[in-house]
Symmetry: C2
Subunit: 365 residues, 2 copies
């Protein structure tokens, strides 16, 4: 199967002279493909090489000099991305994913949403050997160090071995992309004690505790964390299933927006309040900047043979530039290889598929 190629041949592309390239699907952004291209231009000035996929005319006008591939067809709004990916090999996200699969680029950025990125990635780039499920990891914009929450929606259900792998995948992201030496990894639950949580969470807790008992472990497992712990700054990575993670992420966004808009409304409610708001504006800007989701570049698609980054469709050029820079950095620091190594060291990779096991049993006989 083409997806089961070993990591070797793909990796060699990174060793060539040109800096690692990021394949960027520009279709699907709220502000249009040109805004993504403008982001690529910002990232290029900071040393990240992008190959843009989208309507060439629009892209060229916005990012002169950038490499680009004319791919006007967008499947960003498709309600069935898996089907759209198979049916439309010429779609921009499919062409971008293929460029990564074929070694013309080393990581993927997709402005057209997670559904399309996940489907195109699984179909073209494929899962890393030994990984059960890709996960979507979102660095939450928390003041100070970001807290990476995963899975925020790649899988609605998870089994024990999936969540265990997510912990390693999140830790590798924190290390390679965010530069955290020894990430503190927690498990989201409804209580801090090891025995609290769904049966699944209790099982995963026990396994992570056991696998990280040694000081050489890839990360520090700090146990269960309740919902408010997500913004408490005690963990670098928080693991949960895609259903809970997605609810948590959207709730956070909702509560933040509601609170900030209430402050804004209050500051418009009287001449006195208006003056107060004006005087406070500068001091609040730092906080607004710190919690601005664009600063983190979006969600990370982990578990494929190459890193993917999925910025939010409503981002501006600044956010798309961040996404491209983070994707370039993740490829350069070899997040895929590092995750693989850590999982192998911990014996947490998926075993060979049944057919291979059967073959090896036959061989032994």
């Amino acid at each position: 199967m083409p997806g089961e190629r070993r990591a070797g041949p793909l990796r060699s592309a990174q060793d060539e002279a040109a800096p690692a390239a990021v394949a960027v699907d520009c279709n699907g952004a709220d502000l249009g493909p040109a805004e993504v291209a403008a982001g690529a231009l910002i990232a290029a000035r900071q040393g990240a090489r992008a190959i843009l996929f989208g309507p060439a005319r629009e892209l060229r006008a916005a990012a002169e000099g950038c490499e680009l591939v004319d791919a006007p067809l967008s499947i960003a709004k498709s309600s069935d991305p898996a089907r759209a990916v198979r049916a439309s090999p010429e779609a921009s996200i499919v062409q971008a994913a293929r460029a990564v699969a074929e070694g013309r680029a080393q990581s993927l950025v997709c402005a057209g949403g997670t559904g399309a990125a996940l489907a195109a990635g699984l179909f073209n780039i494929k899962r890393t050997r030994g990984i059960y499920r890709p996960a979507l990891a979102l660095p939450l914009p928390v003041p100070g160090r970001p807290v990476t929450l995963l899975d925020v929606g790649a899988n609605v259900e998870a089994r024990r071995e999936h969540l265990v792998q997510f912990a390693f995948m999140g830790a590798a992201l924190a290390r390679t992309v965010f530069g955290v030496d020894r990430p503190r990894v927690a498990l989201l639950s409804n209580g801090e004690e090891a025995a609290r949580g769904s049966p699944l969470v209790v099982e995963v807790h026990a396994e992570l505790a056991q696998r990280t008992r040694t000081p050489l472990a890839a990360f520090e497992f700090i146990g269960n964390l309740e919902g408010d712990g997500l913004v408490g700054g005690v963990a670098d990575v928080v693991v949960t299933d895609g259903f809970t993670g997605n609810v948590a992420l959207k709730l956070m966004e909702g509560v933040s927006q509601r609170t900030l808009s209430a402050v804004r409304d209050a500051a418009m409610s009287s001449p006195r309040a208006r003056l107060g708001g004006a005087l406070l504006r500068g001091a609040l800007r730092a906080f607004r900047d710190e919690v601005d989701p664009e600063r983190q570049g979006g969600a990370y698609l982990l578990g494929l043979r190459r890193l993917g980054v999925v910025p939010h469709g409503r981002f501006t050029r600044a956010g798309f530039a961040q996404a491209i820079l983070r994707a370039a950095r993740g490829a350069r620091e070899d997040i895929v290889g590092q995750t693989q190594q850590a999982l192998q060291g911990a014996g947490a990779l998926r075993e060979a598929p049944m057919s291979v096991q059967v073959a090896s049993l036959r061989h032994r006989r």
Copy 2:
């Protein structure tokens, strides 16, 4: 079995001349039993009769004239409430629950946490006939009308029929305690489409849609809601399992607190900002009041043969007063009977236990 008495004999207590009483366990509050007693005094002035359980000397000093039962033993901090309830019949929460079970009071307020309230309630007041599981319902302090989220932690796991019943229980609460004529009930999920969500959520969605197809249904089912919908004001009741609900609730509290404290910090960061903060303070007070959890009185324990209300341990007298007033109102409006009726009308009550089924089969033969 004593817990399987019919609703009739218990309900008769309400018809007596004295106003329905609320049994209040005063132990376990952060500010001590006297603060709860002070809340009872406020509630009494608004017509709610409370019977206080806790250390008599402290209670009497704070709420002269209130009925009280000397019960100094607290199991609020027990790590195994079910065991503590069985082992300590003299504990304040157990005595309070017994008062409700025996008809001396018609609803329960417990300042000592949900674990103790749930265990004492299940053991003494018992589940309503036909209810699978009690649920903890929290009216989220959202500006405008509160949004009741349930379950926020009574059960870490839920089956289809549990979540279906939670929808009816939440709707009955919205109607009886919050006065919403035809509550809009939603299901928490990771996407709005009917097909989005875990297999459990998809199943529950289909069943709720089917059960509420008639305009005579006890509530309007508005479908799936994503995390940010919790603060969007589109639903009166949002149904989820106790694991997700608990994570969501604590995350909301965490994000709100963090955002408001960032605004506070910003308003202390310079003389200019300090002046701005001072001018804005009055306008922000209305928002703070609206999102103050004490205004809602705490979480509602539904599914027992009587209503329970569990204020947060950190509440002040104002919050405890609200809890008592809400508990009195829920009993007066017969939330238990209304829930039962709605479930019966929808055919969503648990069927008779196996032994009864077998007996009736024998009878037919």
